[in-house]
Amino acid sequence: MAEVSVPDISAASAENFSASPSNTIPPGSVGVVSPRFISFTEPLALASGQVLPSYELAVETYGVLNEQRNNAVLICHALNASHHVAGISADNPKDIGWWDNMVGPGKAVDTDRYFVIGVNNIGSCFGSTGPASINPATGKPWGGAFPMLTVEDWVRAQARLADRFGIEKFAAVMGGSLGGMQALSWAITCPDRVGHCIVIASTPRLSAQNIGFNEVARRSIISDPDFHGGDYYAHGTVPRHGLSVARMVGHITYLSDDDMATKFGRTQRAPADNGEFHYGYDVEFEVESYLRYQGEKFSTYFDANTYLLITRALDYFDPSRNYGGDLARALQGVTADFLLVSFTTDWRFPPARSREIVRALLKNKRPVTYAEIDAPHGHDAFLLDDARYHAVVQGYYDRIAAKLGLPERSRTTGVLA
């Protein structure tokens, strides 16, 4: 396998910008970024018993990998995100990374000191090999034949990526929600390769209620007549309606009851004369309009097969499964130092789920820091600008830097500036 050099994207983008002064990079941004696509020809044996013969991973990096290669941070994404973690997409200046408030020079994950990797998981629709990619055996899109995936499969693929970069051990592996599951899985399956494990708004396993919501979303997609057993690419269709409804259901679970009450309440969208109802099934309330809009927007850029695969990977995740349901035993071999953060109004993965992980780590005498942030925004809070949340993460990364002998923080930008 060819050695991959590690380009300094932040430096490159800075050059781009000095050449075009009409654009300005906001302070704390990593600047303009482009993904790279890294090919792996060694087959990947999956948990399902299937084998992915070869694959490509879309990757963005920010900051510089130091000589000791001990300042690398891996950011794992959740359901609908990608390798584009931070910065401004070179293809589309409106496309800002999904965790741009967290990652950048002077931000909590400080790219002045850390080398940050954003990786798109296999099965995704944002650049890495997925159901819409060509199956080399048939010359046609994989479609419904794309192998089922698990969190552990993603971690295995990410570990190979780390090998390519020559990174033996990450300073930190970090993720929110499904990304937090990947971070946890890293700490369990590759204990020697994770210095610090940062798990935000996550859970050690889905509840029956969580699986229930996922199943509603999947049935919505699968029962769309345009789905064609997942081979809709061949039929020139897209199960847009099913995917849109799936997203609407999912979206409700990301918000808190209070948050929805504040944002929409029972406000009517376009009331009839004298504020009357229309007495029909078209949009009557603001919340309906919002959810329909979110669903429809999502269905234009997200792949239905990817949605199925990822929700199933969520369902399957349960590291305690092979230990009679005992999470503490599953974490016995873990050597990382942990930070967990949960949000009080997150009813998708509530604080009690994070506390389960904390308890299991304490049982194993692992160092663990846990913050329970009293934020109103439900599950989505992990992507938002809560200063307390960002201060905890920043403090934790500063601590890692001190431990590893990395330079001290030279500036503070973003949420905490």
């Binding site: 506390r355 304490l362 601590r399 431990k403």
Partner: protein
């Protein structure tokens, strides 16, 4: 730069120093209501202790994280369910007992999670308190600077009161230190001290 040097607290109060002197080097310590992690950082840096703290307040949690302390954000009134039986060598509850609703429960929980417990609380028997009451006023002093209507201190006691409760809960008191401000009080501590610090051994 070492991991802990930049976050070492410069000044540690006399009572915290005394608490530290009762803790074995290299042992496992749980600090309940750890505030900004001053005691734990001191113990980590000076005694190689493996520590964890519990704190509810957001600002204090952030400060403790910055100090390099393993802090867990939780309300102590909810108990210590996160911790296993005898998971620690020593558990500390500093200046918090008097503001807790369920005093007996937290003491029992402390005895459950660690072999030794250390508790400090304001001494209500401090003589100016009695004088204040004789003058017809609730006492307001340095260790208890609150008015009767806004005080978080709902379970105030004297040294003897605490010793009775400890005996009832079969907590064997091994050490007592008493302070007035930053000075240790040896003579007539029941009247002259503002803060009492007890170390006890858990029953089993």
């Amino acid at each position: 730069m070492s991991a802990t040097a930049p976050v070492a607290p410069r000044h540690v109060r006399a009572d915290l120093k005394r608490i530290a002197s009762w803790i074995e080097p290299g042992s496992r310590v749980l600090d309940l209501g750890c505030a900004d992690g001053t005691l734990l950082a001191y113990l980590q840096n000076n005694k190689g202790v493996v520590g964890a703290g519990v704190e509810l307040n957001d600002e204090q949690v952030i400060a403790a994280v910055r100090r390099g302390v393993q802090v867990i954000q939780q309300n102590l009134e909810e108990g210590l369910a996160l911790f296993d039986d005898q998971q620690f060598d020593t558990v500390v509850l500093s200046r918090t007992l008097q503001s807790m609703h369920n005093t007996e429960h937290i003491l029992r929980e402390m005895a459950r999670v660690a072999r030794y417990g250390i508790v400090s609380f304001p001494n209500f028997g401090y003589w100016p308190h009695g004088w204040s009451i004789l003058m017809g006023r609730m006492p307001v002093t340095g260790e208890m600077p609150y008015q009767w209507f806004d005080t978080p201190n709902i379970h105030l006691c004297t040294l003897k009161d605490f010793e009775d409760l400890a005996a009832a809960l079969q907590l064997r008191i091994t050490h007592l230190a008493t302070f007035n401000g930053n000075k240790e009080v040896k003579l007539l501590p029941g009247w002259r001290s503002t803060l009492a610090v007890y170390r006890f051994e858990s029953p089993n």
